[in-house]
Symmetry: C2
Subunit: 190 residues, 2 copies
DNA sequence: CGCTCTTTCTTAGATATCTAAGATAAGACT
DNA sequence: AGTCTTATCTTAGATATCTAAGAAAGAGCG
C-alpha cells in the first residue's frame, strides 16, 4: 500500500498510456475543468462568471427568451437558470419582464450594458479556444467533436431506455411523455 | 426574438455543424455532464456519489494516502477532498488516522466495507464506458484522448505563464508566492 | 362555472467544487 | 530556545448545479 506520491510526470504518463476506457470520464472532466477555469479567469475581470457567460451568449443571439427557453438552450434545469438570471439582473446585465399574453412567462432581455459585454467577452473566449487547441491538428479536433457528440448521444439514448427498467429517481418525470407530458422539452442537452 | 423551442434534432444539428472552436468548451462540458450523470445514476443505488467514487477508485489502488496526496491524485483542492473524505467516513467507507511520524498528516484507509464496494462498483463504471463509446471506433477514442490531454496541457501551460502578467483576482492569492508560498503543491492537475 | 391538470417560475435543500483564511504541527535558522 | 516559514488539515463562504416540492396563471372539460 501507500506508494510514493506520483510526480506530475507519472500522472501524465498515467493518462497517456493504459486505462483503456475507464477514466475516459475523468479525462473529459479534467478537460472541462481546464477549459472552464481558463475562461473564468478571463471573464472574472469583467465581473462575469462562467455561468453568466453561458446565458449571455444565448441572449446575444436571441434576446427576449423566457427562462424556460433559456434553460433549454443552455441545457440546464430551471432553478439553475433562475438563479443565474436573478444574479445577472442584480448586475444590471439583463432585465426580466412579464408580458400581457401569458403572465406565467418571464422574458429576459439584455440591457445595453449586457449587450456591450459581447464585444469584450467573445474575444476572450476565442482566445481560450485558440490556446486550448494549439498544436492540435484541426482534423483531430473535428474527430474529437464527433466522438464527444457520439458519447452524448449514446448516453442520452441509454438514459431513455434505462428509464424503462430502472426508474432512477431523477429521470422519472421525463419518460411518460405520453399522457402527462412532464418535462416537455425535447432537450436537456445543449 | 423568442424562437420556437429547439427540438433535440436542431440542437444536435447545431453541434454538428458550424461553430468551429467556440463551444468546444461547452461540448466537452456537456459530455462530462452526460458521463457523470450516467455513472451517478448507477452508483446512487449503492449510496455512492460520483465524488466519492473518484476517491474510492484512488484508494482501491493505493490505500493509506494522506488527504493531500488524495487531492493531488484526484486533481481537486484540499477542501473538496476534506469534505468528501469526511462524508465517506460517516458512511463507514474509510477511516482517518494520524501517524506518529508526522502528526500534521492524516492518512485515509479503506474499511472492509469500502474495499468491498470495488467489486460492485467497477463493473458499473465499465458498463457506462462501454455504452458511451458504443459504435465509436477505438482509433477515434485514442485520438480523442490525445486531444483532450493536449488541451489540458495547453491550458495548464498557459495558466502558469498567464499568472505572471495577469493577476486575475482568482489567481492573486497564488502569485505572491515570493515570501509566503501559498499554493505549495506542484500539481493542481490530475 | 368550478375543478383538475399543465406550465412556468420560485423556494428549499443537497452535492461538488473553488478561493481565502484560520489552526496546528514540523522544520530551519539565528 | 525562539521566531519565522512551510505543510497539512480545517473552516467559512461563494458559485454552479441538481431534485423535489410550492405557488400562481392558464387551459380543458363536465
Amino acid at each position: 500500500m501507500s506508494r510514493p506520491p506520483p510526480s506530475t510526470q507519472s500522472i501524465l504518463r498515467h493518462w497517456r498510456e493504459a486505462v483503456p476506457n475507464d477514466r475516459l470520464a475523468h479525462l473529459v472532466k479534467d478537460a472541462t475543468r481546464a477549459l472552464v477555469r481558463a475562461l473564468q479567469m478571463r471573464l472574472g475581470e469583467h465581473a462575469v462568471s462562467f455561468g453568466h457567460w453561458t446565458f449571455l451568449r444565448i441572449l446575444w443571439e436571441s434576446d427576449g427568451l423566457t427562462q424556460r427557453e433559456l434553460s433549454e438552450q443552455a441545457g440546464v434545469m430551471e432553478p439553475t437558470t433562475f438563479s443565474a438570471v436573478r444574479a445577472m439582473e442584480r448586475l444590471g446585465h439583463v432585465v426580466r419582464r412579464r408580458r400581457g399574453d401569458d403572465r406565467k412567462k418571464i422574458f429576459v432581455f439584455l440591457t445595453p450594458k449586457g449587450r456591450r459585454l459581447r464585444k469584450k467577452l467573445v474575444p476572450l473566449a476565442e482566445r481560450v479556444n485558440r490556446i486550448a487547441v494549439r498544436r492540435v491538428r484541426s482534423a483531430d479536433i473535428t474527430r474529437t467533436r464527433k466522438v464527444l457528440l457520439s458519447i452524448i448521444e449514446n448516453l442520452a439514448r441509454d438514459e431513455q431506455t434505462a428509464d424503462m427498467r430502472m426508474p432512477s429517481t431523477r429521470e422519472l418525470g421525463r419518460l411518460n411523455g405520453s399522457g402527462r407530458k412532464r418535462r416537455p422539452q425535447g432537450s436537456r442537452r445543449r
